[in-house]
Symmetry: C2
Subunit: 199 residues, 2 copies
Amino acid sequence: MQALLIIANPNPGSFAHAMAAAATAVLQRPGIDIVTHDLYAEGFNPVQPVGEFGNTRSDDPLIEAHCAHLAAADLILVFHPNWWSQPPAIMKGWIDRVVRLGTAYRYPEGVGAAGSPQGLLKARAALVFNTSNTPPEREAAIFGDPLEGIWKKSVFALCGVTRVERRMFGPIAASTPEQRRMWLDEVGRLTSDALAHAG
Amino acid sequence: MQALLIIANPNPGSFAHAMAAAATAVLQRPGIDIVTHDLYAEGFNPVQPVGEFGNTRSDDPLIEAHCAHLAAADLILVFHPNWWSQPPAIMKGWIDRVVRLGTAYRYPEGVGAAGSPQGLLKARAALVFNTSNTPPEREAAIFGDPLEGIWKKSVFALCGVTRVERRMFGPIAASTPEQRRMWLDEVGRLTSDALAHAG
């Protein structure tokens, strides 16, 4: 059983990192391999170079390692702040380069790029934990909460991951230690629940 | 009168580049300054470094040049492919780093990060031209066309740009020369229309 954690926040002391630590504490059980990629810490390059688009391999060994970990994962956990109702660029580049053709999805024979791809991921469950300074009501009412559809429909459903739970905690800037403790508890609870559906 | 063009496609022979050329041909009139940034060609770094988040200045001179051009623009034109219902990472990083506090928006006195910011951009009009291999009906029905809300609401409306036209042309991979000619004509027409509302 393999759990994959992807963290995208420039600040190592961020709440995204605290949430990843809370999830890790739950995942530390016999029989679970935990693979963690802190994109900022590892210097992940999100810019898909000329020639890589549409391809099924990369000249960047870190991309190949990421793809192998994504393909092997039974449970995927993603941690990032809401920047402009979207993931930070470094996280977007993880989607562009790692969630790739032949690794995460394929086109059935006779179906071209304009058709419906088939998901290839082994993981049956994913968790997306976002932080935000925009209140959830404002994010939903004014902006339509694009992150919800992006992660659940555009990315995970397309790749065959059917059970996706997502939470957006905030406003972070003005949160109290008590709120943050409750949010970390919820991260732990959701991680524990997801284990029952993974793989 | 200043027009700002931002292009994000790894392939210099892409249809995004052809659309930018079609728009440029319309903009080449007396009294219009055209500033073009081809993000891939100029090696734009989309990763917001530790310490830059929330700030109003950057140590990267290219970011400062971008911010000056954005603030001075009367008309903004954006060209990029639809990757995962979102902009490519390099374009997302332009939003993260260039469309910044103090340049593109501000919080009125007494309003914190959880409140509603005020737009600061001088431009009154923007055009967003996307290419896609996903048919428009599928993008809307299955994924909810997140790019529409991202550009119009989350980015431009927040920064005070009220008239935003967006087109997504495709499927590109299977398009005919005749279709592409018609699409380029439409780019020219929309650019010409937008000039009447810019500034």
